[in-house]
Subunit: 418 residues, 2 copies
């Protein structure tokens, strides 16, 4: 069943119907790249690189990390093949399986869970990554005969200063990043992958997010994180193709040929102590970030996209952009030119039992080699960043995301298992 | 600072800009009732009834319950006045306070947290309710001199069969339901109310939701819950004004004059065991719900809005709509005509540590008297509903939501404290 065919019957959510410009019984009859003006449309699943990396960041996230609970290589490969087929269908706005949610025989469980019936593709992307423990378990076991294929770039992250990681929401053998303009579509996709994976994988942790905090295209306006500041102004963007080749995409010569065209993903769940932040003066907030709050301009400039000038001093003889400000410490100029493609989301997970909202940033960054990019940047930030007083890293993930799927014969991980 | 004025500067999120039909530097320059075709618009804050009850259900929810941590009546009233002013501003798309996020003096904390800068009003509604413990604490203390004003209809809910309530995410002295088409706008509102309430209230629990599962207007198409079924087909709708007078709005003669024009809210966080549900056959799922999954028609009919006919038997001599089906047991015909205005949302709160998604329905229902509506319906459901095998009620709330705010001199709770 094609979900789009259901729209006249089942109705789109208010968002889907309105944003895609349809009303009542009109049908979506085309799938084309998502544009800001048509967030209901589909993002192509097949391509050189996986979708969901340089794809203009969608507004909603459901991220999931799985543990693989079988030791059988064939079962894992069979699941990856089933997942790939389901992902191709769901990103096109179809049910997860060909029989679907409602067309099955009454005696069988549906092969789609149904909650996305009638909703358009909504820009859904599904991006897979393989964690270090897939190659060799924490106990040292090479369950799937791929320990030798672990990329050097997929080196375990060091413990950073002030890390407060919870193991139960960190790591994972396989991750899937589901992004869409409608959370119900992202949740539906993750839930169906978990359903299909029953007996082979188990959900280790998952995270919802909203309000993309890092634009990944020059056509997107910069969103704000829960500190109230624009986030992602200086991010790598889809249009920076030369920079992407240098900083984002792994190459055959990099050490793991099967990762050519892929990228390495680091996730960090960063809890913000927003109640303390909210009682901090505007001037101090701006000094900590190194940008002003309204426009998002560096404190050395006037406009958001002005390049920060770290050498400029104020009338007091001190740098306009303080030495321990976030923007200064994270800037490529301070990190041997290292850059990241960030793709984070805001989160609120209810409250923490201590009278505070449990809120913050779910940081996601893609890069060619974390050893040269995330690790040195975060080492510096974790030691010196003035923002550390207001944040706590509570979860961490590291995943190798292979190249894109070339066609219907290809599947997630084929290059790894070939 | 008017957030709408910021749009050309700071940019709208992809959703806001696209859905409201604006691009680039265009400004929102009017506030009018939210329509499905313009989810960026404002919903009027002032009126006979509080907004957020019969307002066409927005797509996103942030619900918060507060404990009042002062015993001083004056402090509580002062907070309610400050909250009302902030709510009027935020629902109009403005900063929470007149100085705002970025226009303050550098030495003072901003009076808005800033993360909604540039976002349109997004249909935000803020609906307040007062819990039983505001009138008298669990220890029996009448902290604010209002114990005598507790409505009889605000009687503590009984313990229902199979209740598995967690006290730490149940109850609360005051609740605020924030609904909007953009989660960042709903989160911003709750976060700023919490900020303003520092020292007077403390966040007890909060819940995010998405994908409104009960339409509250005939102009909305019925959304689906995480069982994959349409939810809210037979809901009370904004257009049913005679039914609303009978079933939704409290009256002066009902026993608590200060609640005239208000309504009573019941919340239930209903965890779904979706992994088990997903392995249940389509036929069994439909028999449990009493409707088919694709169209949402009652099993006695063909179309979604066909009235269920409980007396019709199938060829096997048994009712087409089984005796223990959800739709039958919840139907007014089985409950002395009792009806609810439901306004629930789907939730996914990550995973549960046991390999499963922590997902379900955050049920919200408004009514004239829970003793005659929610309580008898839920008593029946909790004993007989076939759905009970797949759900667990983990949180419960009960709140008296007063009438609307008449103008700038009025404030949340004035009739109660007068």
């Amino acid at each position: 069943m094609d979900r789009r065919k259901m729209i006249g019957l089942a109705g789109a959510g208010a968002f889907g119907a309105a944003a895609a410009g349809v009303v009542g019984s009109q049908l979506f009859d085309r799938a084309e790249p998502a544009r800001a003006s048509d967030p209901g449309a589909a993002v192509p699943f097949y391509g050189t690189h996986q979708a969901g990396i340089v794809t203009p960041a969608q507004d909603r996230l459901h991220f999931v990390a799985f543990d693989v609970i079988t030791d059988k290589r064939d079962e894992l490969i069979a699941l990856l093949q089933k997942w790939t087929a389901a992902a191709a269908r769901m990103t096109a706005g179809k049910d997860a399986g060909s029989i679907g949610a409602v067309n099955g025989v009454a005696e069988a469980a549906p092969d789609d869970t149904g909650e996305a019936l009638g909703l358009p593709p909504s820009g859904l992307t599904l991006t897979i990554g393989f964690g270090p423990t897939l190659f060799r378990t924490a106990e040292g076991k090479d369950r799937f005969g791929i320990a030798g294929k672990r990329p050097d770039a997929l080196a375990d992250l060091p413990k950073f200063a002030k890390d407060a990681l919870k193991p139960e929401i960190s790591g994972g053998d396989i991750c899937v990043q589901a992004c869409a303009h409608d959370p119900q579509v992202a949740v539906h996709a993750v839930r169906n992958l978990a359903r299909i994976g029953f007996g082979v994988v188990s959900v280790r942790w998952s995270q919802l997010g909203f309000g993309r905090t890092s634009s990944t295209s020059r056509n997107q306006q910069t969103a704000r994180n829960l500190f109230g500041f624009k986030d992602g102004t200086a991010n790598l963007k889809a249009e920076d193709t030369a920079l992407l080749d240098e900083h984002l995409w792994a190459r055959a010569g990099d050490g793991a040929d099967w990762m050519a065209g892929g990228s390495y993903m680091v996730t960090r769940k960063i809890r913000m102590v927003i109640e303390t932040w909210d009682r901090t003066s505007l001037g101090e907030q701006e000094a900590i970030i190194g940008r002003n709050k309204g426009e998002g301009a560096p404190l050395s400039g006037a406009k958001e996209f002005d390049e920060p000038v770290f050498s400029t001093n104020g009338s007091d003889g001190r740098p306009l952009i303080p030495a321990n400000s976030h923007v200064r410490l994270a800037h490529p100029e301070m990190n041997d030119g290292a850059r990241l493609l960030r793709r984070g989301y805001n989160f609120v997970d209810g409250s923490d039992g201590l009278g505070r909202l449990d809120a913050g940033l779910f940081f996601i960054a893609y890069q060619r080699d974390p050893r040269k990019q995330f690790v040195p940047i975060q080492t510096r930030l974790s030691r010196q960043d003035a923002l550390n007083e207001y944040i706590r890293h509570v979860s961490s993930g590291l995943f190798a995301c292979p190249a894109g799927i070339s066609g219907t014969e290809d599947y997630w991980g084929r290059a790894l298992f070939a």
